[in-house]
């Protein structure tokens, strides 16, 4: 199957007067048609910066993007703003964590959706209205009266549904979802995840799902990419990753998450220390080494490469696979 999204050697650097920071460092991955890929990691690991690069949404000139991002046959790195505008909304659209800041508080639902249809598809009047009602029905907001509502008159879950409807209006091939359920209550989160699963099925749409929550990953993602300090540290199919993590950082993330399904919440093993300040240059050691319970002397000498651990699995660690998963550190 050909890839829909193909990212190669992507690096994003930000320069301030004091220093230069490489927020994303030489990452490569693919998203296939109809696939849900999770991009996971903690604050500052580069997951959101990666997703914003795809749509060219960095505030320029601060973010410098190098490498290649191909959507089908089209190269997006270095594309003109006119070309990017044709991609955004039409082929790729995005939903964010906070639906209230993504919606214009002064416009009714009807006007927000209408603007998208007008700009991207040239649809107006009754045709546009029919399309709006159809799409709102699909995201679980039936009825004409919701078209006249302002964002503040809707609940958090409803607002996220409106954002999803707006993102789907032009039948995108790829939906980028940046922590779309983080601000929602669990019962509403469950509804939104269910909705995204069914939409993906009906439309064979790909989703790049950015989250910090491994529980959410297990609910919706086919494959997972774990990021730390701007680099990919592990990539695997979801079940494999959650059952037998092959990078100590993934393992530590799982072990520091309190469990609802284990008496006493499971035993928590906090990761000591703090995430690193992002380096400007190439690393001389493994980025996770200072916090790693499995670290050894060699980890301080040179950064390990991202290598195959069988099939599609990738890991950036020199601890032998056989040692992972047994003899918990």
């Amino acid at each position: 199957m050909t890839d829909l999204l193909r990212i190669r050697e992507l690096s994003v650097t930000f320069s301030t007067r004091e220093r230069t920071v490489r927020a994303v460092d030489n990452i490569s991955f693919d998203v296939r048609p109809g696939e849900v890929v999770g991009l996971v990691g903690e604050s500052g690991c580069g997951k959101s910066v990666t997703s914003l690069s795809i749509l060219g949404l960095h505030e320029k000139p601060a973010g410098r993007v190098a490498g290649s991002i191909r959507l089908g046959e089209r190269e997006l790195v270095g594309a003109s703003s006119g070309e990017l505008r044709k991609v955004r909304g039409n082929r790729v659209s995005m939903i964010f964590q906070d639906p209230l800041t993504s919606l214009n508080p002064y416009l009714r639902v009807e006007e927000q959706l209408g603007e998208v249809l007008d700009l991207h598809m040239g649809l107006r009047g009754p045709v546009a209205r029919t399309r709006m009602l159809e799409i709102l029905g699909q995201v679980g907001i039936p009825g004409e009266e919701r078209l006249r509502a302002y964002p503040h008159q809707l609940s958090g879950g409803m607002r996220q549904r409106v954002c999803i409807a707006m993102a789907l209006l032009c039948n995108p091939e790829l939906l980028i979802a940046d922590e779309p359920t983080t601000m929602l209550d669990v019962t509403i989160q469950a509804q939104i995840l269910e909705l995204l699963r069914s939409l993906r099925q009906q439309r064979n749409m790909s989703i790049l799902f950015i989250t910090h929550d491994l529980g959410v990953v297990s609910e919706i993602c086919d494959r997972v990419i774990v990021m730390y300090a701007g680099r990919i540290v592990e990539q695997a199919r979801t079940a494999e990753l959650l059952e037998s993590p092959l990078h100590p950082y993934t393992e530590a993330l799982l072990r520091s998450t309190p469990r609802v399904d284990v008496p006493g919440g499971g035993s928590l093993h906090p990761i000591g220390g703090l995430p690193p300040r992002l380096p400007a240059m190439k690393l001389e050691e493994c980025a996770f080494q200072p916090r790693c319970p499995r670290a050894r002397e060699e980890c301080k000498h040179g950064e390990p490469a991202l290598v195959s651990a069988g099939g599609e699995r990738l890991r950036r660690c020199i601890v032998p696979v056989a040692e992972m998963g047994n003899a918990r550190p």
């Binding site: 469950a190 491994l214 399904d261 919440g265």
Partner: protein, 315 residues
């Protein structure tokens, strides 16, 4: 532990807000007891009244009726002056350590203020006491001359906890204290709270929406729905055999890392407004077990193993 009188006792507490023509019943008849050294988690979805309840306990929201007692003395409905002796006993820690620390004060100044105000230290030994507090929350006392922006989110939350501990409270109200933190840092803060409790015998009223955190830190759990407690149980009883259909639905909707137990039930619809609570049982419009009695009569809290549940099916 059951024989000791409760540290905190909340009786039929109501907090109602009047807005144009309607009354929002944010907290509507809550009864609670919290013992010394105990952690009680208060859980529920946005708008269920959990934060309003906590704020009412420290006098930040006016109480409409009912009352709360701390160590046998009423602490609600008092004037500012009359409540001063109790305010020390009850300290709040908030979700956002960025917003709750004064950016213009050094950490030493931030911690010295409550120490001097509540006479927990004299001028000459305040610095030693500040160092002791920082060490207690796992921060290097050498950093005390720094400002909040020089610390990470997790470190700032440690500072907020140190400030709360400065006045030697008996109860900490923790309102989503780990929600803004990454999981690896959250685990550090949860461990800190546990060890502080073990050392000082503090009680926690722990407000959170994260049920994994609840199972890890709480001894007992109160589940709130539209201003009322619908289930109050020992933690393990609640997670092993939730009695109320709302608790069951809430637990079922949490995404789990273990793939084997995939969730299928999702609760349809949304939480009703506390300005127009449904008749009878407030959960009946969304309950898949509701029967003819549920919309007509309001259920009480009925005893179940390890606590109580507000459902006719548990009667």
């Amino acid at each position: 532990m059951t024989d000791t009188p409760p540290l905190l006792k909340v009786q039929d507490l109501r907090v109602h807000f009047a807005t144009e023509g309607t009354v929002v019943r944010a907290v509507d008849g809550v009864n609670l007891e919290l013992r010394a050294g105990e952690t009680l988690a208060l859980v529920g979805e946005s708008g269920c009244g959990k934060s309003t309840l906590a704020r009412a306990l420290v006098g930040l929201n006016p109480v409409t009726s009912g009352h709360a007692e701390l160590k046998g003395r009423v602490i609600t409905g008092l004037t500012r002056a009359a409540s001063r002796p109790f305010r020390r006993e009850l300290q709040l820690v908030f979700q956002d350590p960025y917003a709750s620390l004064n950016p213009r004060l050094t950490i030493a100044q931030t911690l010295a203020e409550p120490l001097l105000l509540h006479q927990k230290a004299a001028r000459h030994d305040v610095d030693a006491k500040v160092c002791e507090l920082l060490a207690q929350v796992g921060l290097d006392p050498e950093l005390r001359a720094r400002y909040p922006h020089e610390f990470s989110g997790g470190q700032r939350q440690r500072i907020s906890i140190a400030r709360a501990l400065a006045v030697e409270p008996s109860l900490l109200l923790c309102d989503e204290v780990t929600s803004a933190l990454d999981v690896s840092i959250q685990a550090q803060i949860l461990d800190l709270l546990r060890s502080v409790q073990r050392k000082l015998g503090l009680s926690y009223l722990f407000i959170t929406h994260d049920l994994g955190v609840v199972r890890y830190i709480a001894h007992r759990v109160a589940v709130m729905y539209v201003g009322q407690i619908v289930e109050l149980r020992d933690t393990e009883s609640l997670f092993e055999s939730p009695a109320h259909p709302y608790t069951q639905a809430l637990l079922a909707s949490i995404p789990r890392v273990s793939r084997s137990e995939h969730r299928h039930v999702t609760l349809a619809g949304e939480v009703p407004s506390p300005a127009r609570p449904p008749s009878g049982c407030r959960f009946h419009p969304r309950c898949h077990l509701a029967f003819e009695r549920c919309p007509r009569a309001e259920p009480d809290l009925y005893p179940v193993a390890g606590g109580s549940s507000r459902c006719f099916l548990n009667q």
